[in-house]
Symmetry: C2
């Protein structure tokens, strides 16, 4: 199943078609970097006009080459692209990297990809920026890239360049880089698998707009994560303008925001929103062991830095606990009297007095057992600026801090205003992440801490499709869901006032009467609650009939609304990621308060319960302020049952129970809805 991508990342020979002597042209930038690998492999330059490029005689065509070539890099005008691809396959190429653009949106991409794949080769691009492999010294990109241990797969060339510059500043670099372009052949999922198998790679950074088969993408990411390689994803959100940016860029469909979030949760992908955040989070993930708990000690060479860091750590939901008396006593021995030995610890001149105090204090905090992680913030790395005499001891302290952190098995994260100083580099070389801004250090730490607490979910497999639903009205929705295991109140569909009264008598008073047919029934006045006798049923029936002329009515047992809390449970079919389950507060609250949990469907009852617990409003179910605790397990069962149905019915675009009334004993669906999927989705 998995293709051999050795010819792509470690080719025995390379040809650059479109190599140019003009320093303003891509063909020049790419050829000059390709030639840097000449000691590792043959590098052929091809230019249809022939002549000399970068001191080498060029070939006029790939067909002039004497031996088969492994990898062909193509940067030619659009009109020449297809014949060049044909030449490359004829010349024996097993990997093609196509820089040339212009084929998108016309179906030509698909044809090109199929042709290359059918020939047993692999294609990156078209419309890409190139590839890079640090281990095989393969540089087929327009820009210089730093070598390192982060594999980057990017659908935008310029964003990858920004990431590479930020990585370099952080003392990181790329193990491999692939510019995806239009994904005519190789997909993100296949490339993630290639990075997972690549020994040098420690983490995988992604910029993806078009996820193609979103579940396969998620599974590849989950495999990487299981292999100990965290996956960090930068993508655009589902906002309208961001989607316009995507459409015009690669012709891809924007995946809905909730579906992306659900996939990231399922596959333990770290989602970020900017290149800067991507590198800062990766820095934390690569360089730190995850903390075993939420307790953070802060040390600063100044009360201001400590206070700001403490504010940010607390705001991130982590703890900044008081230190135990023995720890405080130990710090008092180590620091001058002006120092603050609570948490945050303020060295308060202890750094100028003796730079090795950083080492002593960090050691005390990392080993005391009072905390799970330490943040150092402020001036470290800058003492050498005050006086030459501080410089060497500060370098030694940087190295020592890194060593004692590695020994402690707890993470130390450093922010300093001297993030580019030699002592900061000494920390990074020793495996301690160093950040320019304290809020970015805290963000990385909170990601690390959340990882330790994350429930291990996986990308669920879709069941075989069930027989498609026939009707999709209220009754059909109710019937489908009830058969799937979602409990509902007793109900009869009737026409005529007498039938309404008979149904009410059979069900037992009080009852609710609903007009059928309209989707938002309650908005239109088509729902009457708490009817206590036959007279009330008649009056309500006649009133609704006169106002709305509904096709039929539903008579339902009145649920004990005041004993429970109303939730909304539902699922939506996403074009890329398939069915996505969601739960939030019901009624008007869900829309007003935007408090919703999502997951790829189907979910298990245990996963559904975790979704419920993740809601801000969960305390309402859990007995807040003396209220009775409600039957969370029943609500989770209903959500799981709904998600299984949604996963088995690809013809359903939206499936919803709103409200689901959660009671102290059980849960009851009070309304149900099916919206069929639009054929284009």
């Amino acid at each position: 199943m998995t293709r051999d991508l050795q010819p792509l990342f470690a080719p025995g020979s390379v040809a650059v078609v479109g190599a140019s002597a003009d320093p303003r042209k891509w063909g020049n930038w790419l050829a000059s970097r390709a030639l840097r690998g000449e000691h590792r492999r043959a590098v052929h330059l091809v230019n249809h006009r022939g002549g000399e490029v970068l001191g080498r005689e060029t070939h006029r065509s790939l067909l002039e080459l004497e031996a088969p070539v492994d990898l062909v890099l193509i940067t030619v005008p659009e009109a020449a692209l297809e014949s060049t691809v044909d030449d490359a396959l004829t010349a024996g190429a097993r990997a093609l990297v196509v820089i040339s653009a212009g084929t998108e949106g016309s179906g030509r991409d698909i044809a090109l990809g199929a042709k290359v794949r059918d020939a047993g080769a692999a294609l990156v691009g078209p419309n890409c920026l190139g590839i890079f492999d640090a281990q095989s010294e393969l540089e087929l990109a327009s820009n210089d890239l730093p070598a390192g241990t982060v594999a980057m797969i990017s659908q935008s060339g310029n964003l990858a360049l920004e990431v590479s510059m930020l990585a370099r500043e952080a003392g990181l670099g790329f193990s491999r880089f692939v510019s995806l372009g239009n994904q005519a052949d190789l997909t993100t999922a296949e490339l993630i698998d290639a990075m997972t198998a690549h020994e040098l790679t420690q983490a995988i950074a992604l910029y993806v707009e078009d996820f193609r088969d979103g579940r396969e993408f998620g599974r590849a990411a989950a495999r990487a994560r299981a292999a100990g390689k965290p996956v960090v994803l930068l993508t655009v959100s589902g906002h309208e303008a961001a989607a316009r940016a995507i459409r015009s860029h690669t012709g891809a469909l924007a995946s809905d925001e909730a579906a992306i979030e659900a996939a990231c949760r399922a596959a333990a992908i770290e989602r970020v929103s900017s290149p800067r955040q991507l590198i800062d989070v990766i820095q934390g993930l690569i360089r730190c062991v995850p903390p075993r708990g939420q307790r953070v000690a802060i040390m600063g060479d100044g009360g201001g830095h400590g206070g700001i860091a403490a504010s940010l750590v607390a705001k991130a939901g982590l703890q900044v606990p008081e230190l135990s008396p023995p720890t405080v006593a130990r710090l008092r021995e180590q620091l001058p009297p002006s120092a603050a030995c609570s948490n945050p610890v303020d060295l308060a001149g202890g750094g100028e007095a003796d730079i090795r105090n950083f080492e002593r204090v960090a050691h005390t905090l990392l080993e005391c057992g009072d905390v799970d992680a330490v943040v150092l913030t402020g001036y470290f790395g800058g003492y050498g600026e005050y006086a030459e005499v501080f410089a060497d001891p500060e370098m030694a302290t940087g190295a020592a801090l890194a060593e004692l952190t590695a020994a402690a098995g707890r993470p130390l994260l450093v922010q300093t205003m001297y993030a580019s100083s030699p002592p900061a580099d000494a920390l990074r070389r020793g495996g301690v992440p160093v950040f320019r801004a304290v809020e970015h250090a805290v963000d990385a730490l909170s990601r690390l801490a959340a990882q330790a607490e994350r429930d291990p979910f996986e990308v669920p497999v879709l069941p075989d499709p069930a027989a498609p639903v026939g009707d999709h009205d209220y009754e059909a929705a109710r019937a489908l869901l009830a058969a799937g295991g979602v409990p509902f109140v007793a109900q009869r569909t009737i026409s005529g006032a007498a039938a309404a009264q008979a149904a009410a008598a059979e069900i037992g008073y009080p009852v609710a009467l609903k007009a059928l047919g309209a989707v938002h029934k309650s908005d239109a006045g088509g729902v009457r609650l708490g009817l206590t006798d036959a007279g009330a049923v008649l009056a309500a029936y006649e009133d609704i009939e006169a106002q709305l002329h509904p096709s039929s009515f539903s008579v339902e047992a009145m649920a004990p609304l005041d004993r429970g809390v109303e939730l909304l449970i539902g699922a939506r079919w996403d074009a890329r990621f398939g069915p996505v389950a969601l739960v939030g507060l019901g009624g008007v609250y869900a829309e007003v308060l935007h408090d919703v949990a999502v997951a790829l469907a189907p979910v298990t009852p245990a996963h559904a319960a975790a979704m419920l617990r993740s809601l801000r409003a969960f305390p309402l179910l859990d007995g807040a302020r003396g209220r009775p605790a409600l039957d969370v397990a029943a609500a989770a069962d209903a959500l799981a049952a709904l998600s299984v149905l949604a996963a088995a019915h690809p013809e359903i675009g939206e499936l919803e129970v709103n409200p689901l009334l959660v009671l102290p004993d059980g849960a009851l669906g009070l309304d149900a809805r099916i919206v069929l999927r639009h054929p284009a989705d």
Copy 2:
């Protein structure tokens, strides 16, 4: 009232006491920088051992000086501090800057401040890092600071240094800098006024832990803002650990988070949470005209950068609208066919093709009228790296972009991965802010846009205190609030079942029965709602009596709960900022959902209505999804009335109506509470 701070910021002569020849000592760093101003003023170095320091003969004492000295900078051991202050005042000093620490928390600070003030002089510190004035070339700080137009007042020296470094990177610097230290004499408020009056200053940056008189602080900030000088505040939040950092640092009290937020809203202070954010927000405020609306155009040299920026702009609540057909047509003329001419605009190679395309596209977007602001994101500044031939045109384009932005009267904000490049500097010199990270550019833009929409509130004046309340039980709270104009349901306080039944008959059924005495009555089962007749009252009475033995009972008219929404309205007395009013959803929702609006009390009904509108849950009051619109004006009146009472009763620590039931016609208090202020608050 306002003191003359000329001797502090532009002294005719300066003495440095504690000047040292040892390059590891503060007395050395400070003296060497003081001497840089020798061409502007006499600089005397004082060292009690005498001898030569930095090539100058020192005086052994201030008393040796022949003429009076304007400003004395003191960096001596704690034991010598007080005598040195005496000597300085004897030597005629009108301003003192005290670096020395050790006097905090003992009352000695207060005595020192009083002594200096009584002598007609002004004191900065003790325990500070010095001061700086770019215009008068006064450098009395331990580090080199960049000159510019931002006045910085900081209670932490190292944080101010970090800000100075970030400012320098952003092409900014300090007009004045004051390290506050312990604020024994000069307060933040006085210094803000001095910065407001300082012509060179364009914006005021604050790091403050201890606000002293918070209302006076707020008024000074509001005055600065009214004078066109934005105030940006970095402070620690009210979290417990941050408060510990403060206590141990300066002995100050942490002001409560909500009170700080309320003060910032009242005084139009921009609150930030890190040094990095402080400078990025200031960069936006100084360099941009505020946008007149929320519509943003994005231009990027790559679809990825445009998409990421669009995601962030939309997430910040701003709009990324489609461009009008004439604008799109104009962009199509200017850009190559591969470019995306919607919003975001993707130059897609248009930059390499002709760097002046940046200028043309920016001009089109800034002048088209479709948008209120433009964000440029990506690679600008880096084209010169590809080829020398791009370098000069790129510089010219940077200057031209700045010019056309100034002419357009709309803001352009730039993010580039080449933020330190010469073209980026050209943009900054021309008044265009340039950011390293796109999320920081978007943050600055959203601050600018919010400013344009902000309601002009002011720091309210406290009324004269009313006669203190006698009792503070439920009845007293109800009586106070009702007299102040908060409407309540009909009620009688009674003892005995017969009296309960009589009161219920008088009020009219249905009624509620409440046990009095316990604070959280509903948690303990002491509240029974919806009692429809005398029998129900008797049963409820006997049940509560048996369980809780309350001192007395309250019989109240049953409010129509199902017709309204419950709010919580209240006020809390903050030690620094005085009474703070707040409103949120009532019942369990306020605590669970953390959806609360705050303001300095008293508030007007109009301000109270604005607070209500700012709640996430406001649509619940405003007729969401076909519900009836509720009487927001009545709720605002009740909140305003409560806030006026809180402001007039400094003996009350907390005053609360929870719930306040907002109905389609009016609002009704259903419960009330007074907590007297703790004497230490």
